[in-house]
Symmetry: C2
Subunit: 346 residues, 2 copies
């Protein structure tokens, strides 16, 4: 309309888009100096630093992260890719990572694969388009293309949850195989001889399957029968654990112990047994995996394996930051281990 209106750039900008240039003008310095004050303040004399800080404050300048990321080909963003957000376990890892990254001024970008490795590949691909500073990804199993892509990316990548050989870059987790074996040992030592393993969607949840494999090895070592794992095609939940308990007791009269793939299922089984008047561990022993805080509070208290999930997230983020900042990041792989917590349920 008004011909006289000055055109800034190609469109009518509301006057409120404050850029580096505006700050520089106000402070009477060049834009690069402003950039330095923000990113590497030690490289600027105190005199100018002060002037620039005043101008930033006065104008309410907010750096455009996007422009910075484009120019430098990196951003203060770290994607974390997990199989699912409906599982408390991954959320705790995210929480641990968030604590550390946030304190360092990094933002977490969330991705979930729905336990689908092809989706994971597409997601990782897209997320790399954000020029992240590094990446955290759950698991050691990925498509070959995902592995190749992340490896040739040449930025820090931490694979979390399970501990194992040949990570893409760094790895923080625990051996689910050993954990399964340890629980098997515990059950056998307590005198149980007919032990079942119960999970949910075991095909997708290969870490749970590794726990089963560990149990299997243990039972074989003791010359005991190892039943095939009982897997239900539903999202793991407390209800599901109770249902599984009832079905198994009905199907297999000799059963004297159940090792559930996780605490949700196991707690569901204990609560269900309570309601049905089934004696735990007398009629059936129950064990879980994860070490949720509810475990010690149910009756009988749950025997389970504690995995340090938040710590996994924290360690992963700490190693990532060390590498991003060019500091020593310590060992490339960390086995955070696990511990068995004996409760009254076995």
């Amino acid at each position: 309309m008004a011909k006289s209106t000055a055109r800034i750039g190609r469109k009518q900008l509301p006057p409120a888009t404050i850029t580096l240039k505006h700050v520089a003008e106000r402070a009477g310095v060049s834009p690069i100096t402003v950039s330095r004050v923000i990113n590497t303040p030690d490289a600027v004399s105190e005199n100018l630093r002060e002037k620039v800080a005043v101008a930033i404050e006065a104008l309410g300048y907010v750096p455009n992260r996007v422009a910075g990321a484009l120019a430098s080909a990196k951003s203060r963003v770290v994607p974390i890719i997990v199989p699912s957000l409906s599982n408390i376990v991954f959320l705790e890892v995210i929480q641990g990572a968030q604590d550390v990254l946030d304190a360092a001024g990094f933002q977490l970008l969330l991705g979930d694969t729905q336990f689908d490795l092809e989706r994971e590949q597409a997601l990782a691909n897209t997320l790399l388009g954000w020029s992240p500073a590094g990446m955290i990804i759950a698991g050691l199993r990925h498509t070959e293309r995902t592995r190749a892509m992340l490896r040739s990316w040449h930025r820090p990548v931490v694979e979390v949850m399970e501990y194992g050989a040949r990570p893409i870059d760094m790895n923080v987790g625990l051996s689910h195989y050993k954990a399964g074996d340890a629980m098997g040992e515990h059950l056998v030592s307590r005198g149980y001889r007919n032990i079942a393993f119960v999970g949910a969607r075991l095909k997708a949840d290969y870490r749970a399957t590794q726990r089963f494999k560990g149990l299997e090895r243990c039972l074989k070592r003791h010359g005991l029968l190892c039943r095939p794992p009982f897997s239900q095609d539903a999202i793991s939940s407390v209800e599901l654990g109770g249902d599984a308990l009832m079905r198994l007791l009905d199907m297999d009269k000799k059963l004297d112990a159940i090792f559930f793939a996780n605490d949700d299922l196991a707690i569901g089984a204990i609560l269900r047994a309570q309601r049905e008047g089934i004696a735990v561990p007398k009629r059936i022993a129950i064990a879980g995996f994860n070490g949720l805080s509810l475990g010690p509070l149910v009756q009988p208290s749950l025997t389970t394996i504690m995995s340090p999930r938040q710590r996994i997230g924290q360690i992963a983020a700490t190693k990532l930051l060390a590498r991003i900042h060019g500091r020593d990041s310590g060992a490339a792989t960390v086995d955070v281990g696990f511990s068995l917590r004996e409760g009254g349920s076995t």
Copy 2:
């Protein structure tokens, strides 16, 4: 070293950074056409679209989201700001939002304020530097600057969790005040007359305080004594609920019911009562808030108020997307309501 090496731009790029230009060259079209094929394929003839698609595939081109965001001043990213990641309630909202946004090709950027409104302001400020397409933020209470900043941003913002007047833009939630009142009505109707409210860090958790205010109004209406809320300075947890139960029973012999600020606390109280041999609801009735799936499984089953947390996230994300895409987003505010689930604990 090798003088003959061509310099592309200012540094030696590894040959593997495929850009729009490379795709355009290979397809024999201009870069803008490639851009259109990616962003608005309908605006390109099928002939060229096909050629470009082939080139993209052949080169394994991944669009640089950062460059796109800078050029267009918007990105397919949506920050979600919540008070805490250690609370399952917010995680479920995040999950609901993620489901919807992910399906639409948007990425979620995570921020937590640790229940600090100043931190929230700084976080919102930083996150705007990512040129997000919209924002989801928990709560209706923010600093005046945060409100002004988001309002003048002129992009869709959804405030979630509680429902109330004067949102910044859109609002999806429920009335915690009414929910507290409703639980009060239930308890009074069941014959309880000495009712306490128990929470954790109520100063920070103002939504829990609103539930207390609702209870207070109800008790006054019935001419009953309303005790001050009992708040503990620790993160809400199952253990804490059990401890609070024991302390209150000891402090206040007349007490016949406790309304806990959330289900974690209430379930902890029920489990503790069970272990201590305290009769629920005979000696003391227990009620919660949230509707966690564990509630119906403990003994006695928990009376609680169900809040549709995942749905809040889904609705918020859906409205955001509608506005982003210029479609009708429906009502600016949505009261998702709540429902009281009667269990055996009252």
